[in-house]
């Protein structure tokens, strides 16, 4: 069975093709704002303009033609509505044209499913860290439950906002990571854990007032060490509370080596397993949508409209 999946929740437009659960192609292109943060209509335009070429690249790579595809899957949310609409319209067009079924996939659930597949961990806690999302997700009673999350902005958003103030272009994460390695002096920042949740907006304000008073390297170092430690604490709490013995980190920020190192140390200390996610599957990608669409192939869905606020726990997991 061939499944084609489209991811278009935010910056990334991705097309993945899988055959019976194995990835054949995973192509993408990432919209980069010229200045400042993401402009949803501009990102949507990027997806709209580049979409057909990325689709073609994926088909070529997988060596399949559109009429061979048995099922079309798209990222239904959460995400930015203009971006979600591009993926939906493209899938709708293709499915109608070839008279095939459509599956709407929850973006966060797709991150977990591809992570479970590529790491082989059956029941991990997932720390999902991207621009807009910061969630600690666990599986309980037929659903993926958000055990803890940010009460305000996403971690990537915090890094990008701080990056902009420091003159670092989007996405700021990689450059902040590089500068952090050169930082030596820890500057005390607020460390905000509220039960299972974390909060970043206070830190964002605090850091904005530090700029020009401290070395950029020290700011980056202190910021990373503080917010990553908060994320680790939230993850460890989920593991202890839900009695899970493995952790994966997914999302764009999962590319950060220091965050992964902390995950490894934390897991080693509690005799849990930590598996590193390949960048290809950690960030937003079409393969995860195609793969989750494949898992959900027997679902009957009434509502396929894009859902900007699609909750992780709104999906009933019938295939596990």
């Amino acid at each position: 069975m061939y499944v084609l999946g489209i991811e278009s929740t935010a910056h990334t437009f991705g097309v993945g093709i899988i055959k019976d659960g194995e990835v054949l192609a995973n192509e993408r292109d990432v919209y980069k704002p010229k200045a400042g943060g993401i402009i949803p209509s501009e990102a949507a335009l990027h997806h709209y303009e580049l979409g057909p070429a990325i689709l073609k690249r994926a088909l070529d790579k997988a060596k399949v033609s559109l009429d061979q595809i048995d099922l079309f899957a798209f990222s239904q949310g959460p995400g930015l509505l203009p971006c979600l609409k591009v993926g939906y319209q493209m899938i709708k067009f293709l499915a109608d044209k070839y008279d095939k079924k459509i599956i709407g996939v929850n973006h966060c659930v797709a991150h977990i499913e591809i992570a479970r597949k590529v790491t082989g961990l059956n029941d991990p806690v997932m720390l999902y860290v991207s621009g807009g999302n910061t969630q600690v997700i666990t599986y309980e009673n037929g659903k993926y439950v958000v055990f803890g999350e940010t009460q305000d902005i996403g971690i990537g958003n915090l890094l990008d906002k701080t990056g902009r103030r420091l003159g670092i272009p989007f996405p700021a994460g990689p450059k902040i990571e590089e500068l952090a390695k050169l930082g030596k002096n820890y500057i005390k920042l607020p460390y905000v854990i509220k039960g299972m949740d974390v909060s970043f907006s206070g830190i964002e304000t605090f850091v904005s007032q530090m700029i020009e008073k401290h070395q950029v390297e020290d700011i980056c170092f202190s910021l990373q060490e503080t917010v990553f430690a908060m994320l680790m604490e939230a993850s460890e709490r989920a593991m202890a509370y839900c009695k899970k013995d493995s952790l994966i980190i997914a999302g764009g920020v999962a590319a950060n080596a220091r965050l992964n190192e902390m995950g490894k140390i934390m897991c080693d200390e509690r005799n849990a397993r930590f598996e590193f996610m390949k960048k290809e599957y950690a960030g937003d990608n079409g393969a995860m949508i195609a793969y989750t669409g494949y898992l959900m192939r027997d679902y009957a869905q009434d509502d396929l409209s894009p859902k900007p606020d699609f909750r992780t726990d709104a999906v009933e997991i019938k295939y596990r």
Binding site: N141, Y191, I193, M196, E269, T312
Partner: protein, 198 residues
Amino acid sequence: MKIIARGAEAIIYEDDDEIIKYRERKKYRLPEIDAPMRKSRTKREFTALSACHRAGLNVPKPVKISAEGDKLYMEKIEGEQFDSAFSVEKMSDVGVLLAAISKLGIVHGDLTTANILVKRGQVYLIDFGLSYFSKKDEDRATDLFLFKNALKSRHPDDAKKAYKLFIEAYEAAMGKEFKGIETHLKDIERRGRYHENG
């Protein structure tokens, strides 16, 4: 001394009728963050427990803090953990107990069913490691919000009914003060990301 639990934050030892909560060093955390945090949390927990215990509330009686500042000694409560011994009927008692703690100006900060013990039919609140002193409506509302979520994730089938009993008892005990807390609770829920109905 034997280990009875290994939580995310601390190792819990039992020594006869005493419980020792040891906040171990977290190697993933920078020592500059980790060391002062473990001490301040231990101290804060001691202070909160002392205040509750003096007021006659059902919490462990704190005994002392170790010289290094990372071990908290408390009297043991011979009870069952409420997350495994869960019963909806006890939720009103939890509401009354939390209200009494709120009135002392303490926010628990980590209200889950794992942090409640049941001993001879009575509920006890434990683990004040993330507690702080505040009488602000917004802070008090955080406890309610976290507890509601904890119920949903840990006891999905009973969560609705359990929360209803809990919040009714809490409201009755808080009296006039509840209105402001409720407003903030709704506000937090609205701010919460990707909540139901957009």
